[in-house]
C-alpha cells in the first residue's frame, strides 16, 4: 500500500463527508434524539442489572430484586436512566458510524471503480476512507462523551469514552462490510438499521440482558464488547481488557472481510502487454 495514495483518498473522503449535509446532521441529531428519548421515557429509580463481562464472584452488591434466570455475571444497582444513557450512547454512535461507513463505500461506487482502473489499489481506498471516517467519528464520540455526564455520573469516564470509541469502530467496520457486499443503498441501510437496533439498541441493554435466555447469542454479537466496556467503566472499577479485545477482534475481522470483498468487487481483468 502506498501511503501517498491512501492520504489522497483520505482527503477526498473528508471532503465528500463534509459536504454530505444529511450525514453531518445525523452525527449531531441522532445522539441528541436518543438522549432525549432516554430523558423523557426512563425513570431515575435504581434497577439491578448483570454485568456480563464481570465474573459472578466479583459481585458488587446483592440485587434489590430477584433475577431469573440466575445471573452468571456480577450484578449491580444503578439508576435506570444512567444505564439506559450509556447503552443508548453506544447505539446512537453505532448507527452514525455504520451509516457513514456505508455511505463512503457504497455511494459513487462506479467512480470508485474507475479510480481503481486508473491504478488506485482497493486497500488504499479502504485505508484512506477509514482514516477519514475515524476523524469524523472521533469528533462524534467527543460530542457524545461531552453530553453523557449530564445523564451519568460515570465511575471512569475515560473507560466509557473507550467503550464509545470501540462501539464506533465496530459499527464502522460493519458499515464498510455491508457497503462492500451490497450495491443497493436501501439494502445496506436496512441491514445497518436492523443490526444496530437489534444488537446495540436492544439486546445489549443490561436491563434486558439480566433476564434474557441463551445469552451466548447476545455475547457473540458485535456490540457486546463495546457495550460492556462502557457499562463496566461507567458503574464499576473492574477491568475491561477482555471486552476491549473482543471489540477489537470484531473490528479487525469485519474490516478484513470488507477489504477482501471490496477487492474482489473492484478487481480489474488482467490484460496482456
Amino acid at each position: 500500500m502506498r501511503l501517498s495514495h491512501a492520504i489522497s483518498e483520505m482527503g477526498a473522503a473528508l471532503r465528500r463527508t463534509s459536504r454530505n449535509r444529511l450525514a453531518l446532521a445525523l452525527v449531531l441529531a441522532l445522539p441528541l434524539f436518543f438522549f432525549a428519548a432516554v430523558v423523557v421515557t426512563t425513570p431515575r429509580r435504581p434497577v439491578t442489572v448483570e454485568l456480563a463481562s464481570v465474573p459472578e464472584e466479583e459481585m458488587v452488591m446483592p440485587p434489590l430484586i430477584p433475577i431469573h434466570p440466575l445471573p452468571r455475571g456480577a450484578v449491580l444497582d444503578a439508576p435506570q436512566r444512567a444505564i439506559a444513557a450509556v447503552f443508548v450512547a453506544i447505539a446512537a454512535l453505532g448507527a452514525v458510524a455504520a451509516l457513514l461507513a456505508l455511505d463512503l463505500l457504497q455511494k459513487d461506487a462506479a467512480a470508485t471503480r474507475r479510480l481503481v482502473l486508473c491504478g488506485r489499489r482497493p486497500s488504499e481506498i479502504v485505508a484512506g476512507r477509514l482514516a477519514a471516517l475515524s476523524c469524523v467519528l472521533a469528533i462524534a464520540t467527543g460530542c457524545v462523551a461531552a453530553l453523557l455526564p449530564l445523564l451519568v455520573q460515570a465511575e471512569r469516564l475515560g473507560v466509557v469514552v473507550l467503550g464509545l470509541g470501540l462501539g464506533a469502530a465496530v459499527h464502522a467496520a460493519y458499515g464498510l462490510l455491508v457497503g462492500a457486499l451490497f450495491r443497493r443503498d436501501l439494502v445496506g441501510i436496512l441491514l445497518v438499521v436492523l443490526l444496530v437496533n437489534l444488537d446495540a439498541g436492544w439486546l445489549q441493554n443490561p436491563i434486558y440482558y439480566a433476564g434474557a435466555q441463551h445469552r451466548f447469542v447476545i455475547a457473540a454479537l458485535p456490540a457486546h464488547g463495546p457495550a460492556q466496556v462502557a457499562v463496566v467503566g461507567a458503574f464499576t472499577d473492574y477491568p475491561v481488557a477482555g471486552a476491549t479485545l473482543l471489540s477489537l477482534g470484531w473490528t479487525v475481522a469485519m474490516l478484513a472481510a470488507a477489504l477482501v470483498v471490496f477487492s474482489l468487487r473492484m478487481r480489474v481483468a488482467r490484460c496482456g502487454r
Partner: protein, 203 residues
C-alpha cells in the same frame, strides 16, 4: 507495412446469465487510428468496451494492450460531492501524475468548462459532467482511448472540439475506439465496425 498494434482483442466472448453478448470478437487498434463501433441498443457495444478496458473479465479470449489505456464510460461516473478540480487531483494522484494541475488547466480550457472547475459534480449540468467524464479519460496522455458515446450531452461547439482533439491525438500516434450512433461521424473514422448478434463486422 501496417502501423504497430496498440490494442488487440482476440476471440472475446462474454455472456450475461447465459445470454451471449459477445461471440468471439476480435479487433486490433493501430498507432494513429480512430475506429468506431456502431450497433443497435443492447448490441453489446458497452460490454465490448468494458472488456477491453478491463472492467469486465471476458469468458473467453484475451486483450493485449501496449501502453496506457484511458476509458470514458457511457454513464458519467463521478463523485457527486467533489468538484472538477478535485476530480483531477484525485484521478491524477491515482495515475501517479506529478503534473496533474497543468493537465487539469489544459482540459478545462480545451473542453470549455473552466467556469465550472469548482462546481460540485452533482450541481453541474449534464454537458459539464460529460466533459469532466471525458477529461478524466484523457488525463495522463494515454496511448489508447476507449470512448463510449463520449459526446452525447455535448453542444455542437464542444462536439466539434472533440473531433479536433481526436484528430490531434491521432496525429500524435494515439489510438481511439469510439462508440457512436451518429452517421456523420463516419467521415472522421479510419475504421468502422458494426456489432450485431455478438459479432463484430467491418462496415
Amino acid at each position: 507495412m501496417s502501423a504497430p498494434v496498440l490494442l488487440e482483442g482476440r476471440g472475446l466472448a462474454r455472456s450475461f446469465r447465459r445470454r451471449p453478448v459477445l461471440r468471439g470478437v476480435s479487433l486490433s487498434l493501430h498507432v494513429g487510428e480512430i475506429a468506431g463501433v456502431v450497433g443497435e441498443n443492447g448490441a453489446g457495444k458497452t460490454t465490448l468496451l468494458e472488456v477491453l478496458a478491463g472492467r469486465l473479465g471476458p469468458d473467453a479470449g484475451e486483450v493485449r494492450v501496449a501502453g496506457r489505456l484511458g476509458y470514458s464510460p457511457q454513464q458519467v461516473e463521478l463523485f457527486d460531492t467533489l468538484t472538477a478540480r478535485e476530480h483531477f487531483r484525485l484521478f491524477g494522484g491515482a495515475l501517479g501524475l506529478a503534473g496533474w494541475r497543468t493537465e487539469a488547466e489544459r482540459w478545462l480550457d480545451r473542453l470549455g468548462f473552466r467556469q465550472h472547475a469548482d462546481t460540485l459534480a452533482r450541481e453541474a449540468s449534464g454537458g459539464t459532467r460529460q466533459k469532466l467524464n471525458l477529461a478524466l479519460a484523457l488525463l495522463g496522455d494515454p496511448d489508447v482511448l476507449l470512448l463510449d458515446e463520449p459526446y452525447a450531452a455535448f453542444d455542437w461547439e464542444t462536439y466539434l472540439v472533440f473531433w479536433d482533439l481526436a484528430a490531434e491525438l491521432r496525429g500524435r500516434g494515439k489510438a481511439l475506439l469510439v462508440v457512436s450512433h451518429l452517421v456523420h461521424d463516419r467521415s472522421k473514422l479510419d475504421v468502422l465496425w458494426s456489432l450485431s448478434g455478438g459479432v463484430l463486422r467491418c462496415v
